[in-house]
């Protein structure tokens, strides 16, 4: 496939210079390399600026409710396991409003790739603190600075046994595209948390701020080493990007028996004989 196969005609509603543009480019690059047709892909999102991404990529999409992208995506994959399912969500959508689904879908381990546009701020509602905002950051709602501890997505995912945990940076497009491809290749829930500068509302975590702190994880890191992964995820002064953890584990599709079944969507509904079940109630 080529990049242009994924071009959407829908006009983009993001602010100029937004980190989302880099992520859009990276996603398109990854999809072109993946080789699946737009018809074989499903992008699922909730609400927020990140959740508009599916409109700007030419594939199937389901842009659902705020916080609820993960359950809709997991079920769509269960319904048709032949689809490649990718979730584009934000830090508010995924870690705040949908936090419970984040926890339990890591446990559920349906094969899907979750890309979190983590800008550490609420953009679409115009600048309130998000679950990943830095303590002390001042906003209209938190004029004295954020006092809540930030939500640690990578460490949370690792603690829950997530099989694929990565971090990207919106300005590192090629690097991010490779992370997305690795996430898709991993069978199970894959988390890619992506630093995404918000030019309009986050005056603290800017491109410059990230550029000073972000570094690429080197070949010396063994992604199957959980202790090393946890150590990387815990770094706060310098911020590692790359595959933090990658280790195979049985997916929902394997454990539930779905892999041995015809995709649910192809079931023949006209030949169901309820007779044997009724007989149990005689």
């Amino acid at each position: 496939m080529e990049l242009k196969d994924f071009d959407s005609s829908d006009p983009v509603a993001w602010c100029g210079g937004c980190g989302n543009f880099g992520m859009q480019a990276a996603l398109k690059t990854a999809l072109a390399k993946l080789g699946k047709k737009p018809q074989e892909l499903l992008l699922v999102s909730g609400i927020g600026q990140a959740a508009k991404m599916p409109h700007y990529i030419n594939t199937n999409f389901f842009n659902g409710l705020h916080g609820r992208a993960l359950p809709a995506a997991a079920a769509a994959k269960i319904a048709n396991r032949e689809l490649t399912v990718i979730v584009t969500t934000g830090d508010g959508d995924c870690y705040g409003e949908g936090g419970n689904h984040f926890l339990h879908n890591i446990r559920r381990n349906v094969d899907m790739t979750v890309i979190v546009h983590d800008n550490q701020i609420y953009g679409l509602t115009k600048g309130q603190a998000s679950p990943t905002s830095e303590p002390g950051m001042k906003t209209k709602i938190q004029p004295g600075g954020v006092i809540l501890s930030p939500f640690p997505p990578l460490e949370t995912a690792l603690a829950l046994g997530c099989g694929f945990v990565a971090r990207g940076y919106a300005a590192e497009k090629e690097h991010l595209a490779e992370l997305i491809l690795a996430g898709i290749a991993h069978k199970g829930f894959s988390l890619i948390d992506v630093f995404q500068p918000c030019r309009s509302f986050n005056k603290l975590n800017t491109f410059e701020w990230y550029a000073q702190r972000v570094y690429k994880v080197g070949p010396e890191h063994d992604p199957a080493d959980k202790a090393a992964a946890l150590a990387l995820a815990a770094e706060r002064e310098r911020l590692p990007i790359g595959v933090i953890y990658n280790s195979a584990k049985p997916s929902y599709e394997e454990l539930s028996g779905l892999d041995g079944m015809k995709p649910l969507v192809d079931a023949d509904l006209n030949s169901i004989d309820i007779g044997p079940a009724l007989a149990d109630f005689r």
Partner: protein
Amino acid sequence: MNEEINVRITGEAGHGVVAAGMMLARAYKDSGLHVFAIQDYMSRIRGGNNFFQVRAAARPVYAPREKADLIIALDKEAVEANKTALAPGGLFVLDAENSGVKDLEKGWVSAPIYALAQEAGGPRYANSVALGIAAALTCENFDRAGEAVGREFAAKGSAVADGNRAAALKGYDYAMENIEGCVFRLTGEPHSSSLLLAGNEALALGVISAGCKFYTAYPMSPSTGIMNTVADYAGRYGIIVEQAEDELAAVNMAVGASFAGVRAMTASSGGGFALMCEGVSLAAITETPLVIAVVMRPGPATGFPTRTAQEDLDFVLHAGHGEFARAVYTPGSPQECFLAARRAFNTAERFQIPALILSDQYLAESFTNIELPGALAEAPERGRIFKAGAEPEEGRYAYSPDGVSPRIIPGRSGALARADSDEHGPEGHITELAEVRVRMTRKRLHLKLAALEKEILPPTVFNPAAKTMLCGFGSTLGVMREACAAVKDAGFLHYSQVWPFPGAATLAALSGAERVLTVENNAAGQLARLMRRETGLKPAGSILKYDGRPFTLDEVVAALEGGV
């Protein structure tokens, strides 16, 4: 000879009163009797007082009675809690020694239930002893009860089944020899209503037969029984049952699976359904078929978790923000539960809307013997699905005369499926254009509603020439049916679908009535208000009950005769 009998077995949670009651109900049914059995239980795992009550007759029975002809109490609290429920001339069997009861009142008789259970292997067999006693006092012989024991415990191995059978036989023999008079004995005739089903089970079987392949829910009484039955058959029928982390996940999973082309559903009760409301609205704007069963219990909030109510009619009619078409089915019997499940899936898919099935604890967990009308059940109708390879020119949400445009199934339709919870144009992308908004609202609300109105399930009408007409929805069907057969000049109208509301059928059925009364398990008279709102007809009054218990036949008859 009595025309019917009403037997109550009572004890604390964990005593196995449900198992004993089910075995008795099955023994009656297999003897050719018709049965109607209710469960009354507390929201706890052990202790308290529960009862299971079986009404049996040679003719069909559809409702519970107030007083029991035979009560078997398994502990002291059961004696205290149930002694006022004994019918005049009835028999109250208890284990005086085990329960510490010194003075036996009139109609009471003591039996060594626990000593007999001990002989059979331990106190856990007391419920089977109770079954044996009930069989001795009401059945022609031990055979049907013995078969019911074997069946009840078949899955638990032969040792358990043999122990329970021995216990039941000890109870039977003891009662035959020591308890005077067997005035409750009935004779049945073979009949074809041979399935013993509760509403939840029938609903689940309807769901399975309709081709639901993805069932997801968060456990909540009294809706969980549906999930239990679907899970029992999931392997055999190729269904994935997924327990959700919460009701928000459940409804969004159901919508996600349905978007991907699979028949999917969820269920809950009031509080859980409250959490699902945004998902109902999501299904409406994305025009994704969605089936939800709401099995009511008394609220507000946690209310009475294990008891019954019809309090959420208004709630379900209005659940979900924004304006859109929906269908609300209110089945009145296990047969109607089965049919409602099948119809709800067809309606949801053909009109691409939320279709809700409103049941309640009483209907969900009362057992009766039925014949499933297979020929009447609708075949699966998937509605319009886009099949061509190219993109539809007008888009997924193309305007159409009946508001329904062909669905696109991702990965199956060839074209790309685009759905958005934001207002969108025909192609599925976000829009803020005023004229698109107006056309989409008309599509989702007015046009679909007009199409739905053409096929509303007609209400069941009995004796429309009567002076007094009772009106009810859902679980009151049975009690109205029996009450109107028992009382002179009374008829009824029962709604199996309350939305779109069958206004014309209502006015036609009630035009000759002198007095219209609603029968509702709520305090506000929600059906009466709905009828007035939709037809202008104001019911003269309402027979209301809102103590968490179902109507008994006696109560409705008394209300009719007393002139509400």
